[in-house]
Every structure is written in C-alpha cells, then in structure tokens.
Symmetry: C2
C-alpha cells in the first residue's frame, strides 16, 4: 500500500523493489551484499521528496537516505523494513553566481562535479577528500565533512550559505540565501549540518565559492620529535600568513608503506625520520610563493625546526607528493581485516597520545599493521589497523584502546565521518550525559515518529 501510494506520483523507474534491488545497489559501500529494503525511491526534485516523506509519515514508514555511501561509519546501513531514498537523480547545478561567488546545487550532486564546475569559472570549492568522485554534497553537508583544506577554508559548515531540507513530516524548510552574514533569529540550518540525516533530509544548498588560487607550492619535511612538528606549524602559519592551505602529518611506518612497493611512488625524502609533514601554500604568484616557501624552509632548517625538506618543482612533483598522501588505498591493501579511525584531539597531545596507543596496539598478537597519518593542524588523526583475525570482540577491544584515552583529554571519537551506527557505543567518550540527552530531546522534537535514519547517531 505504501509502494502503491508512492507509485501514484512517481514514475515507474523511480521506485525499485523486490528483485529490482538485486545487484543494483550495495548494502554498504564496497560490500558485496545486495540491498535489502522495502523499496528504493529516487526523487527528482524537492517537491517529490516532500511528497515521499508525507507518504512515509502517514504510513509510519522508516527511511534511510542514501547519498554516495562513503561515510564508513554505517550511517547508511539499511534494514529490510526500511525505505531507501536515494538522492542520485537530484544531481543538478541550478546556478553559478559569479558576482556573489555562490553555487546553487541539488543534494545528489557529486563533489568532484562541483569542484570542476567552480574551476571553469575561475573559482574554488575548497572541500576536498579521497571520496570526492563518489560523495554527494547532501551527504557531505549531513556529515559536516572535513578533508584536506580545513586549515585554510574550514569544514563544510563554513561553506554553506543557504540550505533547504525536508522534514520527517514532509515540510520543506527552505532558506536558499546567498548572503554571508545572517543573524535573523536562530540559524536553523546549523541543526541539519552534521546531524547525519536524522533530523531532516538535505535537498538543496547554496555553496560559498572562493577565489581560485593561482599558485600551489608543496614540500615534504622530516622530523624526529613531535614537539618540533607543532613549532613548525606555528612557524609556517605565521610565515605563510593566510596562504597556508595544507599541513598533513604522516608517521614513519605509514610513510614507508606509502613510498615502497607495492606502492607505485618513491619517497621524496629518506625513510629514516619519525614524522613527515606535507605542507602546502596556495597563493597568487607561483614564483614569489615558491621563493617564500624556500626562504621559510631554509630558516626552519637553520633554526633546527626541521631535519630535511624538499619542495615540489613541477606539476609532476605536486602530483607525486599528493599521491603519496591521498592514496590511502595503498595502506588499506596491506591490511587484513582493516579497521579505520578518525579521531580528534588537542594538537599538543597528539604525539604522546598516539605513541601510547600505537605501543599498546603493537603489543597485541592479533595486530599486524598500524598506519597513522592525519590533518595535524586540525587535530585530526586517522589510523588504519590491519589484523591477523577478525571478530566483534577484537574490533571492540581495539576501539576501546583508541577511544578511551580521548575522554580525559577532550578529544572526539569522530572528527570527520560522523557517528552513524559504528561509533554510537563510544559517543560517551566525547559527549556528556547532559549533551546526549539534549540531543535525544532535539531528535524527538524534530522527528517525533523516529522515521529518519532510526537508530543512527542517537536514539529517538
């Protein structure tokens, strides 16, 4: 009866169910199981999405919203009694405003398409991360994604000027403004950004674009002490003044794996440093900005902040340097039963905390590999762990080793990817009971029938 109702206003090709779901869609990104769901519907515009939610609300039908399915925390896992709303047909750029420097987009648009379209107009959409060819902007907004340029441009929250959402009962809450400052009462959109589709469904957005930098300079540098990494960050942030756009830290074991076979790229610096930083500036004149980077690295060498450094001299070098950092798949391919982490902690405590964690993990017989790297200027560290065996108990034990220390130091179990299903049990390591009960109160207010991504993030 629900499906009949949906088919009354959607075309045949927009509603898939039963055998039509087989092979079409994977349950979770990269996994081989077929999608199990009541049906999958694909709205073509906000009005259809609103009608779908009105129908679901009337039927008490639970829904899961599917974007690019790249969240990695089980945020889009679907049960067979849930309806999937896939945003893939809402994938249009509605306008680019060159004067206001904004782009108006539908939620199903893929990040890379946004980046490329901005570039055509000599503008930059600064969000950038590995899954850019798959991740959809609606999901990116719903998880407040971060990535490689947060240091300079901020997280997703800072790129969203206007937002339109559809609520659990099918209302359209639209505020598609292009303005940068708006203190006219509560900034409702902030509630939907980062709440992983549990409070409303993002349908459209107005994105803020930035000037397209005309120069890009990158360098790899080596350290043996973590404290020097922090000193170097402060030194470069001051010296590059506003043009610093990347500061990525790679631990030795990861660096070796990223630059040795089977990895296809070689190392731009020797393998004998404990820490490697890939630092990047984006400015307006290549020659001048390259000279500034050179001057600063020489000064840093003299001051003994860094032990060695090498600057990319060509576009080929830039591609080489960034492939090392971005091709995380090289690490994953060396891990059996890989387990991924995306934690946040105060920058000054990263060195010691991670050292203790790695030592503890390496003492475990089950653990084969521990790769550590991250956006250190944002306090955001990623770990990829390879294990000889796999079990729920082992996953939990490793989670505890990594998440428990975050409580006392004011860290977070999720810097970028969100909570979804997989991190829900560990939320108490970074949120107080008072906070979690306020979240539940908000969930109950916004989604009284608990229809949107039920059971994810917090209980309704």
């Amino acid at each position: 009866m629900l499906i009949e109702s949906l088919k009354s206003f959607l075309d045949k090709g927009q509603v898939l169910s039963g055998m039509e779901l087989k092979d079409r869609y994977h349950h979770i990104w990269k996994m081989e199981e077929s999608l199990q769901a009541v049906a999958l519907v694909m709205p073509r515009n906000t009005e259809e999405l609103s009608k779908i939610m009105k129908t679901c609300y009337a039927h008490g039908q639970k829904v899961v919203i599917h974007g690019g399915l790249t969240n990695l925390v089980g945020g889009t896992e679907t049960h067979k009694d849930e309806l999937v709303i896939s945003m893939e047909k809402m994938n249009k750029i509605q306008s680019v405003d060159l004067m206001s420097r904004t782009m108006t987009v539908e939620a199903g648009l893929i990040l890379q398409d946004i980046q490329e379209q901005a570039k055509v107009h000599d503008l930059l959409f600064p969000l950038n991360f590995g899954a850019k060819g798959t991740a959809q902007i609606g999901g990116i907004i719903s998880t407040n994604a971060g990535g490689l340029r947060v240091l300079r441009y901020g997280v997703t929250r800072h790129q969203i000027l206007g937002l339109e959402v559809v609520t659990a009962d099918g209302q359209i809450i639209s505020s598609m403004k292009k303005i940068i400052k708006d203190n006219s009462a509560y900034d409702i959109k902030q509630l939907f950004i980062g709440s992983e589709g549990t409070l409303g469904i993002v349908s459209r957005a107005v994105l803020k674009l930035s000037s397209l930098p005309k120069s890009r300079v990158s360098a790899f540098v080596g350290f043996n002490e973590y404290a020097k990494v922090v000193d170097f960050l402060k030194f470069m942030d001051g010296g590059l003044a506003g043009t610093l756009s990347g500061f990525e830290l790679i631990w030795q074991e990861s660096f070796i794996a990223m630059t040795s076979p089977p990895a296809l790229v070689k190392a731009p610096l020797g393998h004998d440093y404990r820490y490697y930083v890939l630092v990047e500036s984006m400015g307006s004149k290549q020659e001048r900005d390259q000279a500034l980077m050179q001057d600063l690295l020489e000064e840093a060498l003299e001051k003994k902040l860094i032990l060695d450094g090498t600057i990319a001299q060509s576009q080929a070098d830039l591609d080489w340097f960034w492939t090392i950092r971005e091709d995380v798949h090289v690490l994953v391919s060396q891990c059996n039963n890989d387990q991924h982490f995306d934690i946040s902690l105060p920058i000054n405590l990263i060195g010691d905390t991670l050292e203790k964690i790695v030592v503890e993990l390496k003492l475990m017989e089950e653990v084969e590999k521990v790769f550590v790297f991250g956006h250190v200027a944002d306090g955001n560290i990623h770990l990829i762990i390879g294990k000889r065996v796999q079990s729920d108990a082992l996953i939990h034990r490793i989670n505890e080793i990594i998440y428990a220390p975050l409580k006392d130091i004011g860290g977070s179990v999720s810097a970028e990817h969100g909570i979804g299903l997989h991190k829900k049990a560990y939320l108490h390591y970074c949120r107080s009971e008072a906070e979690i009960s306020m979240m539940r109160m908000i969930k109950k207010t916004m989604d009284p029938k608990n229809l949107l991504n039920r059971g994810k993030v917090v209980d309704g």
Copy 2:
C-alpha cells in the same frame, strides 16, 4: 521569596534590588533611565548561575541576561517583572593554551581584554568591532557578532571551539573542548550561538586564536560605479590570496561627513568619488606586503578598476585611515533622532538596492541625513538615518522602506546585531513561516516555561 532564595546562596553584594538598582545600571545602553527589574544578580561562576536558574525555574521567574548591552536591537530590554542576570563578575581568562592556540574564558569577559591578552602571546583573536571596549564575549557569542574581519576569519561562530551553557532549568551543558573538528553527533553549541540568550545562557567558552599577523597594509581607493567595487574585490581577493583582511565600503555622503569638521580627521582622497573602499591586508612581512599592495593598486588603476588610491605609509596613517571608518560616532552626532540599520544582501545587488532605498528616503520630508557604509565583502551594509522628527509611525515607515526590498532578493534584516525586540516585526522579510514555526518549536523544547529573554527574537 525568590530574592530570599537567591540570597541564601549568593553574597549580599551579588543581589541588588529596589533602590540599589537606581543609577547603577541603565535600562538600555547609553540611555538615561534607571533599570526596572525584580532584582539584579551577579553570579561569580557557572555553579552559581546554575543555582540561580534552578531557583528561577522553580519560581517561574523570567530572566533577562545582561552582558555589555551593546546589541542595539533591544535584546536586553528589561521589564519590571523580570530578573536581571548580569555576567559582569564572570570576567576571567581561565587559561591560554599556546600549543592548541586557544583561550578559555568566562562569559563576562570584555572583547578588548581578550584581544590584548592574545596579543601578549603573539596571537590574534580576530573579532573586532566598535563596541570592543564594552561588549562581553558571552553576548558576542549569543548574537554571533561579526565586525571588521569576517572576510578573512569568519563570524563569531567560527571562533568558538568549546562552549558551556546553563539551560532554563539550570542544567549545565558543558563541552569545553579545544579541538577544531568534532563530528560526534549533533553540534549542540551551534544552537546557542546566535540565539540571543533565548535558549540558554552562555557561561564559558573556548576561543580559537590565530597567528598574529606581522604586517598590516591599508589603502583607500575611489570609484564612481558600484560594479567596479565588486570587480576590485575579486581582483584583490585573488591578488592578495589569503592575506586580504578588510574591505570596507563607504558611500560618498558618509565619507564626506567622516572627513570634514566636526570630524577631527581629514580625507586621504578627494571628496568627489561616489564610493570609497578601505582595503586591508595582514601578512608576515611589512615591506613585501606593502610592495604587493602597491603593485596591485597600480594594476587596478591601469585596468581602470579604480579611479584613485592611497596607501598608508606609517602607523600614524593606519590609525588615521581606520579612525575614519571606525568612528561611527561622528555620523551619529550629525543625526537627530538617529535610526540604525544592519542589513545583509547579495553583494551584486548592493549598489542598485541601496541607491533605490536612499532615493526613497531622501524624498521624505522628515529625513535629514542618510549615511551608508559597510562590510561590503560580507554583503553587510549599515545605514544611519537622521530625522527632523521622531515617532513610532515614522520609525516603522523607514523600517519598511529598508526591510521590505530584502524579501525578494534573499537578504536579511539583521546581518550582525540580531533580532532582539526591535526587528521581530520584520523577521518575516527574511524568514519563512515554516522557518519561524520551527524556531518556535525549538524555543518551546529548550525553554518550556518561556523564562529566558521572553518575547525576544521569537515567541515561545
């Protein structure tokens, strides 16, 4: 009985009532009336604030929170049946973390004290505006204040890493983290930032600090066409890369008033341009950055983007240039019955929209002066209007002239100052009914007895 309860845990000097309120406190900033209130209490810490709210909740006592009282929208107006909570005794810096580059502060701390303390540590707290010597950080957070450097560093929302609030029923919701990225479930603090004390009372915060720029270069330039202002903004944003930190637009009539007696400063450019821009870069090396500004202005002159320009050559020049822009009092002093505006609109539409508004205002017999200036790169324009007479009907008529055109172009009746009492009737020009009813639902959920700043912003 309420006052007895409050006195049971507060010292005598922390509770003022009756004649003690006389002369001590003004009703609204700069106004001469005495404060009318049930009492005024001054908590010394979060626990006392929590106890005060528990007491008020039990008694159903309405409260108004007083910070520096500089909001200008009636956000702190108090009725005689309300209790005032003044944050002035919670004015301590609790810590400065030089590695994480954060400052942990109490809500009653004054902005200028924060700026100065950051500078001592070679760091920058980038928020800056005219009322910095009076405005308290709790109020700044509650109104999501903007100011002169939003272009580069963002609004208040972007400077807040951790926040602690006390809710209507006296609960302490504390998340005093120093981390930059935290996607662990709903980002609750976003609800309290900019909600003008109607959802909770900010008690403490962790502020993000930035590198203290080592150079500052400012220039005044002149234009006769608004479109060229926008082209010049794009040109400078690209050319200065990440170092552009200010781009203030002043309309001719304002510029003349700001640089002619009774103003104490003279004009750095002739009085014959229709628009003046004060552009600023903050970088790392004075000489190099000054040369870059010089090169860019010369190029802009050649390209006919600008008609004339002059660069500050000394600290005295910098002070001179910025006094022109910051000393808004010079304009106010030339206005009888002054009426202030703080609107936001898409950057491309500012020239035409403001021209129409000014023409319409000038046709009014009651209007003597119309001063226009603003943070044009943020789309944020201020107007100060002087009138021969004063009446509520006239205030409303002028409000309508300025606010009504914002509806169709996606503007805002408040870019920076908030809604308070004075703009509540005009909120519908920038928020839909669906948005306002969602705001009311949130207010009801967070403050079920409608005790916090009742009647301000939205109805509970």
